[in-house]
């Protein structure tokens, strides 16, 4: 009669309150000039100056060793900082991928030299990372990827094409997954390796891909014999698949998987109050949205606790991402139901810009980081369906 998943509660200690207040008051100042459109970008919005300031305050690489520019704080402290940032829709993109993904990967599997070099740069907000996984013919079926790294004197030459690479046109480095072994048909999950790639390398070309909002936030990156020195291989040659999968499992349950639309709710509440629309429908919808948020947060905290204890709750993390993505996708529709806003984006109107941006952007929430269908497959297998 034991449920097939584990979610023991994690309590954030009161001692974290000063940190929360510190981040909150920093954001109260910093956010005064942010437009609704900018807030909508949240953790994908690229603002180098903001990231430098966040780095100065010690909020990047918070849990890393001081020897690598980190701040030796706990995962719980990082969580509090992150959720405050997301609640405000802060533009984290210039450091987010390094802080969430690439830095931890380098810390875990990088060479001493890689750690010494890259981690302090990330922690200061000076080095931005992008993630080079997807290719034109390899999306969900990532392991079928064909971009190749060929051994040459002193290193590797990369050739092929990556797509949908978020912020590649603004980033300094990419961690890219390339085939180093036999062809995809022969050894699909084997023979993949991860490389640290300088985005200024010759032979590397970045071409923005406009998205439906009219912006070019993601890119096509072509590699035409790009040289990568030997010491820029990350981890073990041929182990790239396992390394990249572990990375994805860690990021799946974090607050960015359920809070991307959060900033819209407080603005909607104010509008409902101003328009005297606080009727029974509004009460039920807002109350329902609040209860889901509180419980998603409890679930996310539980997974954080399990990770801190050295477990790897992959199935649970996939469950939280699936529930969380659905939640953040529903928010703009809920607000539309309550406010019935005109289909116009009113300049300088925070609510209108944010709603307009999110309506067009939420479809991506259940694509990026593993599609809903792929996640549900992972969950079903984890539950014992074969």
């Amino acid at each position: 009669m034991n449920p097939p998943f584990s979610f023991s509660p994690l309590q954030l200690p009161d001692a974290l309150e000063p940190l929360r207040q510190e981040v909150r008051s920093f954001l109260a100042d910093a956010s005064s000039q942010w437009s609704g459109w900018k807030i909508g970008h949240s953790w994908t919005g690229f603002d180098r100056d903001f990231s430098l300031e966040v780095g100065r305050r010690g909020w990047i690489g918070m849990t890393w060793p001081a020897a690598f520019g980190g701040h030796e704080r706990t995962g719980l402290e990082r969580y509090v900082m992150v959720e405050e940032m997301l609640a405000a829709g802060a533009p984290l993109g210039a450091h987010w991928f390094g802080d969430r993904q690439s830095g931890p990967l380098i810390l875990r599997l990088g060479t001493e030299k890689q750690r010494q070099h890259f981690l302090p740069l990330i922690a200061r907000g000076e080095a931005s990372f992008c993630i080079g996984l997807s290719e034109p013919d390899s999306g969900s079926d990532l392991a079928s990827l064909r971009s190749r790294a060929t051994r040459v004197d002193g290193g590797w030459r990369l050739s092929g094409r990556k797509v949908w690479t978020t912020n590649a046109h603004l980033c300094d480095f990419m961690i890219g997954l390339f085939r180093t072994g036999g062809p995809a048909e022969a050894e699909k999950h084997k023979g993949l390796s991860q490389f640290l790639i300088d985005m200024r390398s010759s032979g590397l070309e970045v071409r923005p891909i406009l998205d439906l909002t009219g912006e070019g936030h993601f890119n096509e990156v072509t590699f035409d014999g790009v040289f990568v020195p030997d010491d820029m291989l990350v981890g073990t040659e041929g182990e790239g698949w396992a390394q990249a999968s572990a990375e994805l499992a860690f990021e799946r349950s974090q607050p960015d998987r359920y809070m991307s639309s959060f900033p819209l709710i407080p603005l909607a509440i104010d509008a409902i109050r101003d328009n005297a629309q606080a009727d029974r429908l509004a009460e039920r919808c807002i109350g329902g949205a609040l209860s889901e948020l509180v419980i998603l947060r409890e679930m996310s905290l539980s997974i954080l606790g399990q990770l801190e204890d050295g477990h790897s709750p992959a199935k649970e993390a996939a469950l939280v991402k699936d529930l969380g993505n659905t939640y953040e996708q529903n928010i703009p529709e809920l607000v539309r139901e309550l406010l019935d806003s005109a289909p116009r984006i009113v300049p300088d109107n925070k609510l209108s810009e944010l709603e307009g941006f999110l309506v067009q952007t939420v479809p991506t929430f259940s694509l990026r980081g593993g599609t809903r269908e792929i996640l549900r497959g992972i969950i079903a297998k984890g539950l014992g369906l074969r």
Partner: protein, 357 residues
């Protein structure tokens, strides 16, 4: 605290063993015909289950809600046709008010009654679970000065109304009091606020629903792995896998929500916890029932199959002690009474203030 955690785990294991060995179709049908199985009930009392949250002077183990959550959840997971949860909760309320806990089944009313100058009780609760099978009933009554009292009544002093038809067919009847004397009464503890015992019953139901949801998840997985169509188990079809994954999400969230509400009670914040849990779990139960019946096909809606013992309870419980709509509305009203900037503060303060460990 660790020794208490052990009592809690031990208790859960005993409940699991007892209910696993005894609860079957016959017993469930018997309860649907208004009869409590007295030998099962005797075993439950012998284990001290119903007094687990009472003080030691009442023969209890003084367990906190979070420690009793597994027992409540298991009563839902086994679709146990016995009022374990109701009696556990009623006993805890009596014990907290300093009233000696009587033996036997104790029912619990959730509406507010009135107490006159002579201490006589009047009022009505349209539906009290297991009322006709209980020796006593606990209710909250307000006196003419506006003070609340926890009151213990003997059911033999009450009119015996006919049972009500409900979706779960568990015994339930209307409680009518017109100047009835109490066996005992005491000032209500501060923990019974404006809503009386409603948040506690809502928490109990949320936890029981989490148990039922986890059980239908297990049944659904097992069925998907064994039912063969088109030459293979239906669990091999991706459409079915995705339904099951979605069901798992609802069940997991419900379990987290139920325990969350229990922790909130332990932290002295019963109402917010109940509002969040009951609104979420009731809503998710609706979606989960639809999924499980879809996966089971026609066999799942037969009387013979046990699935309906769970889904009918879920449809019943989602509406009891305040539905998802009622609790969401109440929560939303509270949120909308303040500027939007308060919402995030509410969320970050929504963790229970004290811990188990």
């Amino acid at each position: 605290m660790s020794s208490e955690m052990n009592i809690s785990e031990m208790l859960a294991e005993q409940v699991n063993r007892l209910l696993g060995a005894t609860v079957n179709r016959d017993l469930r049908v018997k309860a649907e015909n208004g009869m409590l199985d007295s030998s099962l009930w005797a075993e439950i009392e012998n284990l001290g289950l119903t007094r687990a949250m009472c003080s030691e002077s009442d023969g209890g183990a003084d367990l906190r809600w979070a420690e009793c959550e597994p027992v409540m959840r298991l009563s839902g997971a086994h679709a146990a046709p016995v009022p374990i949860g109701e009696t556990l909760l009623a006993s805890w309320i009596l014990s907290s008010a300093g009233i000696k806990v009587p033996a036997g089944v104790i029912a619990l009313a959730t509406t507010r009654f009135a107490m006159d100058g002579q201490g006589k009780i009047s009022g009505r609760d349209p539906g009290v679970s297991w009322l006709n099978q209980s020796g006593h009933v606990v209710l909250i009554a307000t006196d003419s000065q506006g003070h609340d009292h926890v009151c213990l009544l003997q059911t033999s002093s009450l009119p015996a109304p006919a049972g009500l038809a409900t979706i779960d067919r568990q015994p339930c009847a209307t409680l009518e009091c017109d100047g009835i004397s109490t066996v005992q009464k005491a000032p209500a503890p501060a923990s019974t606020g404006e809503l009386g015992v409603l948040p506690y019953v809502a928490t109990l139901r949320s936890i029981q629903m989490a148990g039922a949801l986890s059980q239908i998840l297990s049944l659904t997985i097992e069925y998907a792995n064994t039912r063969v169509q088109f030459g293979r188990p239906i669990g091999k079809f991706q459409a079915i896998q995705h339904l099951v994954a979605s069901l798992a999400g609802k069940a997991a969230a419900a379990q987290v929500a139920g325990l969350y509400a229990a922790r909130q009670i332990d932290a002295g914040n019963a109402e917010d916890g109940a509002a969040i849990a009951k609104s979420l779990v009731s809503r998710y139960a609706t979606e989960a029932c639809a999924i499980t019946h879809q996966v089971f096909g026609a066999i799942g809606v037969t009387d013979e199959h046990s699935l309906h013992f769970y889904t009918r309870r879920l449809w019943q419980w989602r509406a009891e002690a305040g539905s998802d709509h009622w609790w969401s509305g109440r929560l939303g009203k509270q949120v909308l009474s303040q500027p939007g900037s308060h919402l995030w503060e509410f969320v970050t303060k929504a963790q229970p203030a004290t811990t188990l460990h």
